[in-house]
């Protein structure tokens, strides 16, 4: 009994020791990096959006789609040459949150698993990381749109 108590105490001591030694994440610095890189990616996105609005007759609301496709194409090149990983190490969420991060998750899984073949390797693993985003994005959108549609049909505004 006494032995057990002593063990528990030791475990607690170790835990507080561990907490003290754990390197603190530099949260402020990480946020600044994420802000700068994420903002920069959105700035590039705005350049592409403006390009599509002026030269291809898109509007501010519809130019998002071609912009997304273009950004993912650029992501493919950056991922393929191993540059996106390096940006990611520096930027954290700054390169993960923009749509390019979604593209990177899909494309890097595809490249990584090509040695296992194109059906079993690439096809199966492509959405391993990005899958949850699509699954719960679609499900959440379904719930939201359902509630709003019923609300509108009942005469709300």
């Amino acid at each position: 009994m006494a032995n057990q108590k002593k063990q528990k105490q030791q475990a607690q001591q170790y835990q507080s020791f561990e907490e003290k030694r754990e390197t603190k994440r530099p949260i402020l610095l990480n946020c600044i990096k994420a802000f700068l890189v994420g903002g920069f990616i959105c700035f590039i996105g705005q350049l592409i959006t403006t390009f599509y609005i002026y030269f291809f007759n898109f509007t501010e609301q519809t130019a998002g789609s071609p912009t997304t496709a273009t950004l993912i194409f650029i992501t493919m090149l950056l991922t393929g040459f191993g540059l996106y990983d390096r940006i990611g190490q520096f930027a954290g969420a700054g390169s993960a949150v923009p749509i390019t991060g979604f593209g990177n998750a899909v494309i890097s899984s595809a490249i990584e698993h090509r040695t296992e073949g194109f059906i079993v390797g690439v096809g199966t693993n492509m959405f391993k990381v990005a899958g949850p985003v699509i699954v719960y994005g679609v499900f959440a959108a379904f719930v939201v749109a359902l509630i709003k549609t019923i609300f509108l049909q009942l005469g709300g505004s």
């Binding site: 949260i27 946020c31 990096k33 994420a34 802000f35 890189v37 994420g38 903002g39 990616i41 959105c42 700035f43 996105g45 705005q46 959006t49 501010e60 609301q61 130019a63 998002g64 071609p66 912009t67 997304t68 496709a69 993912i72 194409f73 493919m76 991922t79 393929g80 191993g82 969420a93 700054g94 993960a96 949150v97 923009p98 749509i99 390019t100 991060g101 979604f102 593209g103 899909v106 494309i107 595809a110 490249i111 990584e112 698993h113 690439v122 990381v129 990005a130 949850p132 985003v133 719960y136 994005g137 679609v138 959440a140 959108a141 939201v144 749109a145 359902l146 709003k148 549609t149 049909q153």
Partner: protein, 116 residues
């Protein structure tokens, strides 16, 4: 001016993601999923479109816009065909992101070899 707001608003959304990483210790998958759900809810409330007018790519490039465009497609179709439209219209607007990811994923796998 829209370039400035695209930078600032887009950057701020990434900061929210970074805080979820660092402060709440969420995995990237949890963070991105949460952001998509937030985007869907914002569009359900009708707040996402004014944001696009204000910040342009600052809100269309972050992953939150994925949730927004899913809801947008579903609602547009529901207006025409009633409740069933919620299911059938879901991918109407979002097509670009997913199609591009699949196409360039396969192309990327064809072009590039994995790093050792």
């Amino acid at each position: 001016m829209i370039f400035f707001w695209a930078f600032v608003v887009g950057g701020l959304i990434c900061v929210v993601g970074q805080i979820m990483f660092d402060v709440f210790k969420l995995s990237p998958a949890h963070t991105l999923t949460t952001l998509v759900i937030i985007g869907a809810i914002l569009d359900g409330l009708g707040w996402y479109e004014p944001l696009i007018d204000f910040a342009g790519a600052g809100v269309t490039v972050p992953i939150t816009s994925f949730g927004n465009s899913l809801v947008h497609g579903a609602l547009a179709e529901a207006e025409k065909h009633g409740l069933i439209g919620v299911v059938t219209g879901m991918f109407e607007v979002t097509s670009a992101g997913i199609s591009a990811a699949i196409i360039f994923g396969v192309v990327g796998a064809l072009l590039f070899k994995p790093k050792a």
